[in-house]
Amino acid sequence: MIENRPILNLLAHLTLILGVCIVALPVWVAFVASTHGPTAFMSGTIPMWPGDQMIANYSQMLGAGVSTSGTPPVGVMMLNSMIMALSIAVGKIVISVLSAFAVVYFRFPFRGLAFWCIFITLMLPVEVRIVPTFQVVADLGMLNSYAGLSIPLIASATATFLFRQVFLTIPDELTEAARIDGAGPMKFFRDILLPLSRTNIAALFVILFIYGWNQYLWPLLITTSSDYYTIVAGIKRMADAVDGLPQWHLVMATAMLAMIPPVIVVVAMQRLFVKGLVETEK
């Protein structure tokens, strides 16, 4: 739309500002809550401006944690989350880029079947297969381990399809030129395919990192030792105060800290991310 009428501009901006407010308000409330003392949010009126307890709250969460809810300090949980999110993102990318390579470039027996098997797994997200998956992971002795946190979430049909589409846009002549230039399959993969999918890999990394970071149900199920609590599951445990009021100021401080890594990833990789999603020229 190339119309340029002031009233439309105003309307567009109002809509956008309204949208931003709707998204940002809870975050603001969480931030405000994290800067007050323990009682401020129990008094009936919710403060809308930051209080003076910010340093105290955050240093408590970063240092000691909340002993009553059995959660370790935020640092440990952040590290766990980071390990899980990175393993999931990197693992998913490695597996899906290789399987897409196989499906697109090799004529092996049952290739069609393999493709459809990958397709079918789209219908089986973690939540659907959570009980059998838990059984398998428990039998393999992977409860309370980083492997148990990440491996069941690593296979990804979506990412395989994405890379398949990327590879299909690469002209056949490029493959043939590489063949004539003496590049074998793996050399072609490393020298040509990977560099050409660089932006797509980056875009996918952003999405998958956030997916991994935000995992909630699965870590909650399989971690019983506080050494392996992830931060998202940890927040839930902190809010479950059994014999007292939830310490909302500390919960919110943790929530604010939990938001930082995904924000850093998005901001740092924003340009590659957008390029990877819109770029079509190969």
């Binding site: 002209p171 002549e173 490029l174 043939e176 030129a177 590489a178 063949r179 004539i180 230039d181 003496g182 590049a183 050399k187 020298d191 040509i192 560099p195 050409l196 660089r198 020229e281 190969k282």
Partner: protein, 335 residues
């Protein structure tokens, strides 16, 4: 450098469809051979079989003394230039040129030397460190040729390399390819659907139709004595007039031929010519004009000087030896 022999070469696809059949060509060392034909005639398939990108279902391909039917493309000692250039977009021009050599374990100094020579020949020195996307079409084309040159292969294979260029550049690059090939004396096979490109480049032409060879010969042989009505209509611009002989019973030889061919440039306007032509349309080309018209119910085209007189009805004459007679059923030349 090497000769290339195609011995009864054929391609049948898995579904049973035949793309190419019974092709026999001997390409001498250093020769520039052009495969020309309409789209779908099998010329690209033929080239790709020589390159090793397409499996060979019948016959054999020899490069030098070696049968290469089951040899990988990389080991056939050939280099190929593609229609869309197929440059690696993420590599600089220098890396593009060096990639094939690097994969073969050529020493660094030798790669440097060959890239230097190729970039001098093709004048791509100034943009060796640029990415292909920063180059114009003509420059990309040069890089694609450079990639072939640095390999110093036994043969160059060109797959319609000029089709993506604009008309003016195509003419310039055509000449460059010709000069380059003469200078390097590398055996070359060149595929095109453009008869003008074929005529100007070729030492010898192979005209293909429906997966079969219609004629092999030097450009002038093919132009002067087309072996079939198809070749006659395909080579030469504007195309040869093919007239049903029944419509012109008074022409020499029409009694036993199916079609009579006569090139537009062999028809001249004379007041008492034996052929009458009703003018339907005129195309001005500058120095010349093309006049399209009908004699009886047959369409014909003639060329004439653009300052000659034009009227609605023209009488045409021809030199007797300018007629080409073709068989009614097979379309083959009759003499």
């Amino acid at each position: 450098m090497a000769s290339i022999t195609l011995n009864n070469l054929g391609k049948v696809y898995a579904g049973g469809a035949r793309a190419v059949g019974g092709v026999n060509i001997d390409i001498a060392d250093g020769e520039f051979l052009v495969l020309v034909g309409p789209s779908g005639c099998g010329k690209s398939t033929l080239l790709r079989m020589v390159a090793g990108l397409e499996s060979i279902s019948e016959g054999e391909v020899r490069i030098g003394d070696r049968v290469v039917n089951d040899v990988e493309p990389a080991d056939r000692d050939i280099a190929m230039v593609f229609q869309n250039y197929a440059l690696y977009p993420h590599m600089s021009v220098r890396q593009n040129l060096a990639y094939g050599l690097k994969n073969r374990g050529t020493p660094k100094a030798e790669i440097e030397r060959r890239v230097g020579i190729a970039s001098d020949i093709l004048q791509i020195g100034p943009f060796l460190d640029r990415k292909p996307r920063a180059l114009s079409g003509g420059q990309r084309q040069r890089v694609a040729m450079g990639r072939a040159i640095v390999r110093e292969p036994a043969a160059f294979l060109f797959d319609e390399p000029l089709s993506n260029l604009d008309a003016k550049l195509r003419v310039a690059m055509r000449l460059e390819i010709k000069e380059l090939q003469k200078r390097l004396r590398t055996t070359s096979i060149y595929v095109t659907h453009d008869q003008l490109e074929a005529m100007t480049l070729a030492d010898r032409l192979v005209v293909l139709n429906g997966g079969r060879i219609e004629q092999i010969g030097t450009p002038l042989e093919v132009y002067r004595r087309p072996a079939s009505a198809f070749v006659a209509s395909f080579i030469g611009s504007p195309a040869m007039n093919l007239i049903d002989s029944a419509a012109v019973p008074h022409l020499a030889g029409s009694a036993h031929a199916g079609q009579i061919g006569i090139r537009p440039e062999d028809l001249t306007v004379t007041p008492d010519g034996p052929i009458q032509m009703r003018v339907l349309a005129v195309e001005e080309l500058g120095a010349q004009r093309l006049v399209h018209g009908k004699t009886g119910d047959q369409r014909i085209t003639i060329t004439m000087a653009s300052d000659a007189d034009l009227s609605d009805d023209l009488r045409l004459s021809y030199r007797p030896n300018a007629l080409h007679l073709f068989h009614r059923d097979t379309g083959k030349r009759l003499d």
